[in-house]
């Protein structure tokens, strides 16, 4: 499965009606099995780009193609995890995952639905807490449930919008580990697109890092390969010869972009 972004453009109206360009001519090809991180300053359009791929936001121009076919609208083959968990507050964690799977996969037998729900809730360690409601668990647990929900519908592509941004460092690193385990071994999911603020997170998880620039040139500024072999772990990876170079490169790009924006 190849995911192609061709000439994507998106404009929003500002508060006083003035047009604000958030995406200008994004071209990108993502091959099957890739983990791609999108990084950039706030407002650089990286979340908008993810929403366009997810089908939640319609681009003004350009196409999102999956295996050559254009995407129109959202769907479970591109499951999303949002920054603020987005669980349904009145449903238990179990029901949140189960209802999503039932809705997304109407053709699945009841047994298969239950099996998937149990498998992914167990994989993120939430099976013992499955009867709790979102308000009764921590942010980390809520986000794990959201991750389980996304995987449980069997998506080929997973879209993550700053999924761990609101979590403390320890919880975040644990979740990063669970995410790579699920993606690498325990699921059908092949491709992951992840928007993030964290440089370290991007390097730890991604095969390629797409650095995006703010206005006045809101587009892809650079694409950086991360040639560090997997499995990676957050302590060991810093010792890899390529790590420091990638980190410096990213910082330089972001700082330069920031200065550009200030002019």
């Amino acid at each position: 499965m190849t995911l192609e972004l061709r000439g994507l453009r998106k404009m929003f109206r500002g508060r006083r009606g003035e047009p604000q360009e958030v995406l200008r001519g994004i071209d990108l090809t993502i091959t099957t099995g890739e983990f791609v991180s999108f990084i950039g300053h706030s407002g650089c359009g990286k979340s908008t780009l993810l929403n366009v791929v997810g089908g939640l936001v319609r681009a003004d121009a350009g196409d999102v193609l999956i295996d050559g076919r254009p995407v129109d609208g959202p769907g479970p083959e591109r499951a999303m995890v949002f920054q603020n968990y987005s669980l349904l507050p009145r449903l238990s964690l179990l029901a949140n995952v189960r209802e999503a799977v039932r809705a997304a996969r109407p053709d699945w037998e009841r047994d298969r639905v239950d099996e998937m729900v149990e498998h992914y809730l167990s994989a993120v360690g939430l099976w013992p807490h499955r009867h709790k409601r979102p308000a009764q668990v921590s942010g980390g647990m809520a986000q794990r449930a959201a991750v389980a929900r996304a995987f449980a519908v069997g998506p080929r592509t997973l879209l993550l919008d700053e999924p761990f941004g609101a979590l403390d460092a320890l919880t975040r690193s644990r979740l990063q580990q669970q995410l790579t385990d699920l993606w690498g071994n325990e699921s059908e999911t092949e491709t992951v697109l992840m928007v993030t603020h964290g440089l370290d997170e991007a390097i730890l998880l991604a095969d390629r890092i797409v650095v995006m620039a703010n206005a006045p040139h809101p587009s892809v500024r650079a694409i950086i390969e991360v040639p560090i072999p997997r499995p990676r772990d957050r302590v060991g990876i810093t010792g890899h010869p390529a790590y420091a170079g990638i980190q410096t490169q990213l910082v330089d790009l972001l700082v330069a972009d920031h200065e550009l924006a200030l002019i």
Binding site: G73, P74, G75, P76, F82, S86, P89, A135
Partner: protein, 306 residues
């Protein structure tokens, strides 16, 4: 009388407490004189006054102030019944609330029952129309733009202005009265329902889109849970105003109902009946509002957290 009661515990306490402290082994209750033991008990009661009793005491104090002012005003204005007369009248009314001596003389219980029926009939009609209409206006943008201005213009109109129209339509006062309540309850129900839809978090809409929730799953898991607290608040407001308006519209329509009872009592020069009716109307309104408040709290608690 009251002054001595309050002062005794303090005196008794100061004389008793050292004695208790000196002989801690002795059983405290048994050998004491009757006056003294009463003093201890009242001292303990005074110390252990629970929050509820204190609130009740304040309520009684407030009631005393109101009754006192009323008594003074009744003394100044001729023809105004005193608190005592009104209380006696109320007692008499409640002793036999459901008597029926023909069309012009019914017990207050029957009149209140008739008004409640009308109120609820109008209220349910309004819910029946207002909730679906609110769902439509809240979810379909063109419907909102088409009808919201009309709603905003009609909303501030006193529902009593609709009475002649309904009278012409139905040619009979009772259904006309019900439809005045319908109009009364319609706007708050409709607007709160539409507003409830606006409160659905965009994230939850997105979840429903990504996982392709069907119409039914969307209604059940996203729309209703988010809109319900606001809808119930709208119903509560509707019910409150409806209960106020029913009295007014029955003063116009005549024949039956608590509003007619009030107006008839005035015409026969029985203001004590009017006052007793006011107390009863207020109590019933309070009970209805409390029930709906309880309901709205029940549904609101989990809707708010997320």
């Amino acid at each position: 009388m009251t002054a001595t009661e309050i002062s005794t515990p303090a005196i008794e306490r100061s004389s008793v407490e050292p004695a208790v402290a000196e002989s801690p082994v002795a059983p405290p209750a048994a050998p004491l004189a009757p006056g003294r033991s009463a003093g201890i008990v009242s001292a303990q009661v005074a110390r252990g006054l629970s929050r509820a009793t204190r609130n009740a005491a304040w309520f009684l104090a407030g009631a005393c102030v109101v009754v006192a002012v009323w008594q003074v005003v009744a003394g100044l204005a001729e023809g105004l019944p005193t608190p005592l007369t009104s209380a006696r009248t109320l007692g008499g009314m409640l002793a036999d609330p459901f008597y029926d001596n023909g069309p012009n003389d019914k017990g207050v219980g029957i009149q209140l029952g008739i008004s409640l029926q009308r109120g609820f009939a109008g209220f349910f009609l309004a819910a029946l129309v207002g909730i679906p209409a609110g769902l439509l206006l809240g979810s379909v943008r063109p419907a909102w733009m088409a009808f919201n201005p009309i709603v905003q213009v009609l909303r501030p109109v006193s529902p009593l202005a609709w009475y002649p129209i309904w009278l012409v339509v139905f040619k009979d006062p009772p259904p006309a009265a019900i439809f005045v309540i319908f109009i009364t309850a319609l706007w708050p129900t409709l607007i709160s329902t539409a507003a409830g839809l606006a409160e659905i978090p965009p994230d939850q809409r997105n979840v429903a889109r990504v996982f392709r929730f069907g119409r039914f799953a969307y209604l059940r898991h996203v729309l209703v849970p988010n809109a319900l607290p606001s809808i119930i608040t709208g119903l509560r407001v509707s019910m409150g105003i409806g209960w106020m308006v029913i009295v007014a519209v029955e003063m116009l329509s005549g024949n039956t109902g608590i509003g007619y009872f009030v107006w008839d009592s005035y015409n026969t020069g029985r203001l004590d009946l009017v006052i007793a009716a006011i107390v009863l109307i207020g109590l019933i309104g309070f009970v209805i509002d409390s029930a709906l408040l309880w309901l709205s709290r029940r549904f609101a608690i989990e809707g708010v957290r997320s």
